[in-house]
């Protein structure tokens, strides 16, 4: 009986780790796609778009903290705060550009017929749902992170370093686009 309980607990831990890793992986992929759109297709991000990217990085930070900690839910809390920030910013931008007015058309091209701010709303809602579901099923469970396999630990470490590198690239990109002042979508301030 105890063996069955232990096996069930172990499976829950594995699913918990997979859900956190999955969310981090998807966010890293979205942030990479945003950079590719910016430099590959010349889509210069607007200030609210950059703030949405920041909110996604905040979610990544929370997920990284949660992946390292097995006894507290601090990381989930951080991710939830930034997911709400992402939802507020993207919902406001969607409402801002809802009706095309002079100077207020949707910024950027549509992907699968949906514009960027609307994608951000969907991503924020998916994150909130994912984090809430994780808490509902696996919340309050404490276990040893050291129990992770070598492959999982390497994967987590590699993903963390990749997200930090993405953040560094975004920082340099913001410097090139905005300098120390206001951001515009006309062009890159430092390349003029």
């Amino acid at each position: 009986m105890r063996g069955t309980k232990n096996t069930g607990g172990r499976i829950a831990v594995v699913f918990d780790r997979i859900s956190l890793l999955g969310m981090l992986l998807i966010l890293a992929a979205i942030l990479t796609a945003a950079m590719l759109m910016q430099y590959g297709f010349g889509e210069i991000p607007c200030p609210l778009c950059l703030l949405q990217r920041f909110a996604m990085f905040g979610c990544c930070f929370g997920l990284i903290v949660q992946l390292r900690s097995a006894t507290s839910e601090q990381g989930t809390g951080i991710s939830l705060i930034f997911a709400i920030l992402l939802l507020v910013i993207s919902a406001r931008q969607t409402l801002l550009d809802l009706f095309p007015r002079p100077g207020h058309e949707y910024i950027g091209s549509a992907i699968f017929g949906i514009h960027m701010p609307v994608w951000s709303v969907l991503i924020a809602v998916a994150l909130l749902l994912g984090l809430a579901t994780r808490l509902a099923f696996f919340g309050g469970r404490s276990y040893s992170v050291m129990g992770d396999g070598l492959l999982t630990r390497r994967l987590v470490r590699g993903l963390i370093i990749y997200v930090v590198l993405l953040c560094a690239i975004n920082f340099i990109s913001v410097i090139i686009q905005c300098g120390a002042g206001e951001c515009h979508t006309f062009g890159y301030r430092l390349l003029r």
Binding site: P47, F61, L98, G179
Partner: protein, 69 residues
């Protein structure tokens, strides 16, 4: 200001990598506060304030024919 937000975020990530968890979270929330301030500054219009007058929720003329039916 955007550069400052990303700089503090990067510092938070690096501090977290170096094992200074509490300091990293403090940096993250500092960048969060600046982000909220910048967001409010970006959406504020001297003409409309924070309102969005282009969003009309009153019954428009489109519903007039329905009412007559």
């Amino acid at each position: 200001m955007m550069a400052a937000i990303y700089a503090i975020l990067l510092i938070a990530f690096v501090l977290d990598l170096l094992g200074r968890g509490r300091l990293a979270v403090c940096c993250l929330f500092l960048s969060f506060i600046i982000c909220v301030w910048l967001f409010l500054w970006e959406i504020y219009s001297p003409e409309y304030g924070f309102r969005m007058p282009w969003l009309q929720v009153e019954l428009g003329p489109i519903f007039a024919p329905l009412r007559s039916v």
